[in-house]
Amino acid sequence: MESVTFIGEHLFWGNLGHTAVVVSFISSILAFISYFFAEKNPLDQSWSKLAKYAFQLHSLAVLTIIGALFKIIYSHYFEYHYAWQHSSRDLPVHFMISCFWEGQEGSFLLWIFWQMVIGQILLRSAKSWLNPVMAVLMLSQIALTSMLLGVKIISYKLGSSPFELLRNVMSNAPIFQQADYLSKVKDGNGLNPLLQNYWMVIHPPTLFFGFATTVVPFAYAIAALWRRDYSEWLKPALPWALISSMVLGAGIIMGGFWAYESLSFGGYWAWDPVENASLVPWLILIAGIHVMIIHKSTGNSYIVAVILIITTFLLVLYATFLTRSGILGNSSVHSFTDLGMSGQLLVFLLFFVVMAVALIVWRWKEMPRSAKDEEIYTREFWMFIGSLVLVISSFQITLTTSIPVFNKMFSANMAPPADVISHYNKWQMPMAIIIGVLTAVAHLLKYKKNGPEGLKRMGIYAAISLVLTIALYFGFELKNFIYAGLLFAGVFGIVANFMLLLPFLRGKIKLAGASVAHVGFGLLLIGVLVSSANKEVISINDSGKPINPEASSKENVENIYLERNTPHKMGDYIITYVKDSQHWVNTYYQVNYQKLDADGNVDYTFNLYPNGQINPKMGLVANPDTKHYFSHDVFTYVSSVPSNKGEAKFINEKRHEVGVGDTIFTNNGYAILKGVNSNTEAEKIDVNNFQVLLGAELKVYTLSKEYDAMPMYGVQNNAATSYEALVDEAKLKFRFIGVNPQNQKVTILSYEQDMSGDFVIMKAIVFPWINLVWAGTIIMIVGFFLSIIKRMGDLK
């Protein structure tokens, strides 16, 4: 190919960014080596000095990559593939931030950024553990920055650079033979409409901060094995593990809230592989934290704590592999593209697995262990059992989520269960019951030794909880006895932990983080139970219209056809599709709800504005709108809209001979002829050209409103013309076509708009008590926060 000098490119930013990627990669290797030898030669200060410089250079390089990439997106430099693919000119700035992590390269960059920030914090806080912990952190940083290299080594492309030029990615397209090709690339592909949501601005950074922090407890555990120092690491690692679980938990639930608020899945959790991939590390981390606390309090279960903390990080890597290698393929609704990095991701994962397993095996005999069996009537025993239940629960989720991996390994053709929800629920519900009950039982017991008074207290709380459960079971109108079990677990957890909390309420709340978190967990359990067990699709088709003869008896008819301005009864509501309106790229469909009381009178009304983006690339992308009440949510989205609305069509022509004061009846309302005038001040008509020009003054009445309309009739060069009057909101049109001087009457034609093409297909769901889910989560996070403060206090 001959070389062309291209016009208008901003190559500086790409070169800067790419150089920064290479620098960050090499400096992370240098930092790793230096920290490694600094640990090996503690007396030689030069290694740790070099390590520090290398890490500071690395941090600077990471910031430069981010700056360069943001500059490219912000300035619409579409000569870069990343900007072209993920952004467009019309995006507001806050969505440009989302563009940043829409692509895989950007989300790796986000992860790299957080790990760099964590490294900076460790630099100031890790003290004697700095060298080995940073060495492990830098290993992870080497692996991550290599994902951005985009360098070909022999025939293998290592990583994928966000600074690749469009003309290099699509080098075969003829447009790139032209020197001024850039002037023809007018706009980028734009941001996926599903991500054009403010939750998508904060959910990914939170989740990735959660993922990134899991490396710290991992690094401490590895460092402890490396140093053969088996006790001191737990103290500094515990607050990090708590921070990680708090942030990861918040990130996961934000994802759920985002899905609920802006996706048409109809819920906050769907057991989708991508959701599972982030949930499992969190569950294992929670189990790990509990076992760490057991070890700190009793000296038991050391090995289990180490294994769980290490597994958490490995599961984060496994999750990364699952979601980014394209292996999930047909099993997930999330569409992650395969950048051809699955090999590299697998090497990344296996490297850390092998390193961790080898270290554990190598130090197996040295690790501390307790000689005797644990007593049953102790807190540590039941905490341990609870942690094991979390492990089993994670194992089951991982297993089914990994079906595509098994297919690849054993070339099988298994598919995920046809009814995924019930498959997971039948395992996870009993697990949740056990865990809920254990949050009460374990907390009511003391460590090491318990007298009979603890058991007595437990009995009393259990009895109170049982009574409350029975009352709530009927109050929430639950209909299945396994739900009673889950309800009891939640209530028992709340009651026991709340009673434990009481003495701390006056000023010492800081010490009660665990109780607060467990109250939140109990509320979350109840919220999940009630909002999903009693979730009700209310948009069931009960129109009485003839249903398609081929329709089967299957009960999945959950969408309702709503013609504009035609009220429709749906459950306890009368709903009307009122109108649509356009804001930016979205069309909002106003749907009016009238809630009926028991006597069939209107209790209250509200409007919902579910919207849809008719996206040129993806078709209708529907976003729901939800009315939040204290006790329930009404959730609505449009599942289909007419594909081409086009011009309004008018039908039902009717001829009326009317005099002044007479009434014209139509199906959409009636009109009264108030008078006929001749001094018409018509705006668009040259009045002087007419021999005669008359206007019919009509007052149009619909059910709720009145309008003025004036169709006109004129004679011009001895030929009659008429000008119609449109009453848009009433969907009526009038024409004035003749005058009869003898009987003082005029002839008016009325038309009604053909509404059959103006409709939405809608789905509506009521989620009872979904606020408990959010409230429980927030309380749980507050509990984590209190525990972090307390454990950080312990460090001093």
């Binding site: 072209w84 693919q85 993920h86 829409e102 990615v169 699509m170 447009i175 023809k184 690339v185 007018k186 592909n189 734009g190 996926n192 047909n330 569409s335 593209t337 069996d373 049953i376 094991l388 492990v391 089993i392 194992f395 089951q396 297993l399 089914t400 079906i403 053709n413 298994m414 598919a415 995920p416 269960p417 046809a418 009814d419 498959h423 039948k426 395992w427 088709n541 003839p546 249903i547 398609n548 081929e550 329709a551 089967s552 299957k554 999945n556 008819v557 959950e558 969408n559 309702i560 056809y561 690339k617 993806m618 078709g619 992308v621 529907a622 599942s639 289909s640 059959s756 409709f759 297909i761």
Partner: protein
């Protein structure tokens, strides 16, 4: 037997249970031939839309009735009924995964997953 061994055995039993349950509940990727032989049993079928034959969706008659013809990977064709509105972007799909079972002569799909030309990443420069 001491307590640790009992706990260990329970865990192993539960783990085996999870594996068995995964195998038991897992559906399989099959073709229409297999689905026809086992009416009522749920399968995943991967195929492409037959664009020669008409798909049908008339929301004014029934908003929850959509039919089309799918050709599976073995080239066998079947009518598919989906009791939901036509999914957005259906025509653009290059591959369709349907989940459901054969009921008589037609396949009743409970779920449709569309694989579009990688949605936001089709590398076509518009000029």
């Amino acid at each position: 037997m001491n307590r640790t061994s009992i706990i260990g055995l329970v865990i192993i039993a539960l783990a085996i249970g999870a594996i068995v349950s995964m195998y038991g509940d897992a559906s399989t990727y099959e073709n229409f031939e297999v689905a026809k032989e086992n009416p009522g049993k749920e399968y995943h079928i991967v195929g492409v839309l037959n664009r020669e034959k008409e798909k049908y969706y008339d929301p004014q008659k029934d908003a929850n009735y959509f039919t089309f013809y799918l050709i599976d990977e073995k080239g066998i064709e079947s009518k598919v009924v989906y009791h939901n509105p036509e999914p957005a972007d259906f025509d653009r799909s290059e591959k369709i995964v349907i989940v459901g079972s054969m009921e008589g002569e037609q396949f009743e799909a409970s779920k449709i997953l569309l694989k579009c030309p990688s949605k936001y990443t089709d590398n076509q420069v518009k000029t």
